[in-house]
Symmetry: C2
Subunit: 125 residues, 2 copies
C-alpha cells in the first residue's frame, strides 16, 4: 500500500478491463485499487447481455450501485429484480449470483474493503 | 454497528436526502450507512446547476464516480474538468472543492471509510 497516494481524475473507460473467468460475459475494472485508497476498493463490472455470474460467496461485503441495465440478482435465498439507479448491499459471506435481463449490458460499481478476498463458487440450484 | 446486517436492494432515489449546509445547492443521500457495511460508507451527492462546495478538507479519503453532469473540481493545487463516467480519488486531508458546469446537475457517488469524519472549511482563493 502506498502511504502517500496522489489524487486521481480519470475516465473510467480508460481503466484496464480484466475478464472475470468465473462468470460468463463479465469484465471488471479496478477504478480505485489496493495501492490507492487505504480502506476500500472501487471496481466497475460489466456483464454483457445474456451474461451471468454463478452463485458464489466472498470473504468481503459488497456495496453496489447499478449504473446501467437490468439483472436478476440472487442474495441469500431471495431473488431481486435490479436496475439502473438501484443500490445493493451484500453482507460478507452471503451467497449471491447475477443474470442479466434484456438486451442491455448490466453495469455496476462494487465497493469492497481493501483486504484479501476469495471467491468460492457454489453448486447451482 | 450492526454485527449481522441484512442484504439491501433499494432504489437510490427512495433514500432520504439531506441538505449539505456547508455548500450551495448540495444534497446527500446515505446509500449504505454506518450501521450497514462494517468498513465503508456509500453516499450519493447531487449539486444543482450553479451549485458549489467550498474548499475544505476531510479526515477521510474519498473514492468518487460521476454519474451525471460536469463540474470543475479542485484537488490540492490543481483544477480538473470532471464529467459523467469519471473516477476521482481524493487522498485523506487534501483540500478540495466543486463547482458545477453547464445546466445539468452534477451527481456523484462518494465512498469513504466507516470512521468518524470532520469537514473543515478553508479560505476561498
Amino acid at each position: 500500500m502506498n502511504s502517500k497516494p496522489n489524487a486521481i481524475v480519470q475516465r473510467a473507460d480508460d481503466v484496464a478491463r480484466r475478464v472475470v473467468s468465473t462468470g460468463v460475459g463479465i469484465s471488471m475494472q479496478m477504478l480505485i485499487g489496493p495501492d490507492v485508497a487505504p480502506h476500500f476498493l472501487l471496481r466497475r463490472f460489466v456483464i454483457e447481455p445474456g451474461g451471468s455470474m454463478p452463485k458464489h460467496t466472498n470473504r468481503v461485503e459488497h456495496g453496489q450501485y447499478v449504473v446501467r441495465g437490468r439483472a436478476k440478482v440472487g442474495i441469500g435465498d431471495k431473488v431481486y429484480d435490479v436496475q439502473s439507479g438501484d443500490v445493493v448491499f451484500i453482507p460478507q459471506g452471503w451467497p449471491h449470483w447475477y443474470k442479466t435481463e434484456g438486451n442491455e449490458a448490466f453495469e455496476f460499481l462494487c465497493v469492497v474493503p481493501n483486504v484479501p478476498d476469495e471467491t468460492t463458487l457454489l453448486d447451482r440450484d
